[in-house]
């Protein structure tokens, strides 16, 4: 997990040793899990949804600045090698260059009131940051989970209640993202300077703050609870067509950059 970071540090050190003026200043900022984005929401179908559990496994947070990196010479060559160009996604950010990173696998536990768990320290070159990317993973033994944890082998586990009229349905949704599936373009707005000392909080947002849609939109919990027992399980690959359609839609929404961001703690 330290390979690229170490390479970056060594490269910067080598440049420094050569007395090159192009070395870009950088800072190290702590990254924490921030549960403030997990709020009770009302979906487009009128369900009030509250989560009591929201856990997922990701790896390799990388941070992008707007526009191009204006490094030159040898630094530019090394930066190009170490820090690949981000993919532009109109609507959230207009392209940019990856100039910050926190590598490794991370278990994100977005339980409200659980405190801000620190994931590590990100290294960022100074610049005007616009977005963050990461890769969805599948939980493994080494992620610190119990042997019988239902998240094992999966990307995310969400558990909660969906209420409408007088009915309440307890639901569990288990999501499997495709191998290597990257989430790109989640908002992260910060002018990083050499004096920056902020903490960065990665959030899962049950409601898109820009458009107001929720991660549960389109899911008719009542209709999916065919036996009417008030409990619903959305498996990663259900065989029943209506459940399969619901899971496809839910996974698609979950994997958009509308439902993640990085909050800056001043």
């Amino acid at each position: 997990m330290y390979g690229r970071s170490t390479a970056l540090a060594i490269s910067v050190a080598l440049l420094s040793a050569c007395g090159r003026p192009e070395e870009a200043p950088r800072v190290e900022l702590p990254v924490v899990v921030d549960a403030s984005g997990v709020t009770t929401v009302t979906t487009d179908l009128g369900y009030t949804v509250e989560l009591v559990e929201a856990r997922m496994v990701i790896r390799d947070l990388v941070f992008s600045v707007a526009g191009e990196v204006h490094a030159t010479g040898l630094w530019s060559t090394i930066a190009d090698f170490l820090l690949p160009t981000a993919v532009a996604h109109p609507g959230h950010f207009q392209g940019g260059e990856v100039t910050g990173e926190l590598r490794g696998r991370f278990l994100l536990d977005f339980v409200p009131g659980n405190g801000d768990v620190e994931l590590g320290t990100a290294t960022l070159l100074v610049g005007a940051y616009e977005s963050v990317n990461f890769v969805f993973e599948r939980a493994e033994d080494g992620d610190g989970l119990d042997a019988d944890d239902p998240l094992l082998g999966h990307t995310a586990l969400l558990r909660g209640h969906a209420s409408k009229d007088e009915n309440s349905i307890a639901f569990t949704a288990v999501i499997d993202s495709p191998e290597g599936r990257e989430l790109t373009g989640a908002p992260f707005s910060l002018e990083v300077t050499e004096a920056s000392r902020q903490r960065l909080g990665i959030r899962f947002l049950t409601e898109d703050p820009f458009e107001g849609d929720t991660v549960f939109d389109g899911i008719d919990f009542g209709a999916l609870d065919a036996d009417g027992d008030g409990e619903l399980t959305l498996d990663p690959a259900p065989t029943e067509p209506s459940l399969r359609d619901a899971m496809n839609r839910f996974r698609r929404t979950f994997q958009t950059h509308d439902h993640f961001d990085v909050r800056v703690f001043e």
């Binding site: 996604h89 109109p90 609507g91 959230h92 495709p178 290597g180 599936r181 990257e182 989430l183 790109t184 373009g185 989640a186 399969r244 359609d245 496809n248 839609r249 698609r252 929404t253 994997q255 958009t256 950059h257 509308d258």
Partner: protein, 238 residues
């Protein structure tokens, strides 16, 4: 007579400079590879459908190579066999040298064809009207003095059947499209695709693509390449 080296060197440099002042021709072609000319065999498609195209017309415009705009026809039909050469769109005379930063626009793609699997057959006829500009293409065109270089716009038809817009190695599938033929008349229409959810297909982090018609339009923006596998930076023109 031995000529002193101090006289030879300037002469050689002068000759080299003359060479760089020469001109050469860039020949622009469009090629659909075997997938368009012969079809996509069933073994390439994970759910066993084989796809053939009876028409694959691509409207290309705004072709700029070696800093020169190339006049091209309004559209080119790519199903016609070309023995691996592609179809010439136009030529332009430019100073000899190495060039990058080529670009072009694919204004529209019209495809007609048939997909078959066992006893099943599904016809399709789609007009994918999504003008897309391809720029900063990842290739170098080397134009020799007095010679000809080829710049090929390569069209990857298989992208239409990818199951992801973001995966490094997406699979080719057709069953999802075949299932969209809800009236079971044997033709998959735009109207049917426009009301069919993309299911397990992955549109990526931006989302916003929910129907199979939107999916095909989005994939049509990825068809253009250069000189085989070279990629370009793409932007929508509509």
């Amino acid at each position: 007579m031995r000529v002193p080296f101090r006289f030879v060197m300037p002469a050689l440099l002068a000759l080299a400079a003359c060479g760089s002042d020469g001109k050469g021709t860039v020949r622009v072609t469009a090629y659909g590879e075997s997938f368009i000319e012969e079809g996509i065999p069933a073994e390439e498609v994970v759910d066993g459908w084989a796809v053939t195209f009876s028409r694959f017309e691509v409207a290309v415009r705004d072709v700029v190579v070696a800093g020169a705009r190339v006049s091209v026809p309004d559209a080119i039909e790519l199903t016609t066999p070309s023995s691996g050469e592609g179809h010439e769109l136009g030529t332009v005379l430019v100073p000899a040298g190495e060039y990058r930063e080529a670009g072009f626009t694919v204004a529209r793609v019209e495809v007609e064809g048939m997909a078959e699997k066992g006893d099943e057959a599904k016809a399709f006829s789609w007009v994918l009207d999504a003008p897309t500009h391809y720029a900063e293409c990842d290739t170098t065109t080397v134009v020799p003095d007095g010679g000809t270089a080829t710049f090929q716009i390569t069209v990857h038809a298989d992208h239409l059947f990818y199951d992801s817009l973001v995966a490094e190695e997406p699979e080719l599938r057709f069953q999802t499209l075949a299932d969209a033929d809800t009236d079971e008349d044997g033709e998959i229409t735009e109207a049917e695709l426009a009301v069919t959810d993309i299911g397990a297909y992955d549109p990526g982090s931006e989302g916003g693509i929910d129907t199979l018609w939107e999916w095909l339009v989005a994939q049509s923006r990825t068809l253009g390449h250069v000189d085989g596998e070279g990629h370009c930076r793409t932007s929508a023109e509509d």
